[in-house]
Assembly symmetry: C2
Amino acid sequence: MSVAVENFVKAIYKNKHQDNLDTKPGTIAKKLRISNAAATDMSKKLAERGLLQYEKYQELKLTGKGTAMALNVVRKHRLWESFLFKLFDMSLHDIHREAELLEHETSDFLADKISEYLGNPKFDPHGDPIPNADGEITTKNTSIALSEAEEGKQYIISRLMSDDKEFFDFCAMNGLKYGNSLAVVKQFKNTKMTQLLINTNTILLNQDFSTIIYVTEK
Amino acid sequence: MSVAVENFVKAIYKNKHQDNLDTKPGTIAKKLRISNAAATDMSKKLAERGLLQYEKYQELKLTGKGTAMALNVVRKHRLWESFLFKLFDMSLHDIHREAELLEHETSDFLADKISEYLGNPKFDPHGDPIPNADGEITTKNTSIALSEAEEGKQYIISRLMSDDKEFFDFCAMNGLKYGNSLAVVKQFKNTKMTQLLINTNTILLNQDFSTIIYVTEK
DNA sequence: AAACTTTTTTAAGCTCACTTAAAAATTATT
DNA sequence: AATAATTTTTAAGTGAGCTTAAAAAAGTTT
């Protein structure tokens, strides 16, 4: 399958299950940096191929086949991220950038080899779950966004949900790393800021960041 | 640069420096399994881009820029082969197949990481030299084809020059592996066969295989 | 509800990387 | 050297994946 098609179904899947965005052609277009016209066009073609359901002016809905394709690409992406992170000590942003390309040129055979090598991990270095070879995500996500965390409690960082370089740079600089501990000191209701303590450092996060950092109770 | 372009300059480079074939558009077309017309077409376009010199009915000649591109792709291919071979215990044919895809989606940055991880190897598992980051091949190839080897002498396998699955299956079955030792027992002049001894086994090779297995004197 | 704004779709057109068919040139054969 | 066979080039056309511009529909504001 082509890169364009794989990225298209992946974008639909992620908008629906991850980024809490709608799946209308225009929204997908924005994410993929293509024109609305191109997205509408692609939608019709993929509907014919049985990868999604398309109805004028409505949200796109992946079929089972389309979902399977999306999960297959997501699996490869997250396996590559895990692998590169482990072996090469690359930043979260760098591994994302490389995985974005490699995911489309990786056979199922190689994906399984990588998975096996890593001990069939369930999460990647961002804390995102890795679908298994059958496209199933077997882990339940019990984590919450930092913006929803309770004052005074201890948490462990379980997910950094972004692919923005500046965000990752900020995280790296401040010890905000998958698996690390922190305490939520205060939630500022009006300004929607979250104050937390990590490694004896106090950090104040605005909503942009507190809603994409996920944690579980310690 | 597109996959098509990268494969085109790579094919020219390999025909010239490795496979001892000419570099006319038709010959490249055959290798890439595209029509002669497509190859002629591409030749003109790449000439305009300064990657090669094109003269009607003549062989194609890579420019410095074209050669650099070819070597960059070859470098990535051979680094991937080395890497996959080392980590995943994959067959020579399998690593080739995967590398053929990955080579086009690998940043220079990642290539350097892989190289560094492997200790900047000079040869891949086929015995092919790996160009450095500047596109230089610093090793001299002193090996000869088995078909040219002398009766009664001991050799070490230094290169398996092919990408054919059957050939690699044969090699794997018979201990014909990069770095292994063998003795040339007899060269049959008329039938162009080579008889050799490896691990107490006698093997008789025809010319198809004896010309693509390279060795150095022990 | 009418008017305005935004989004989506349709229409026409582009580039890339191919194809097949025919014409032209080269190479091989007698 | 003339003819036949092969190779290369030219010409015309295709599908994928885009674009911009205009038309149509949906959503928002007053």
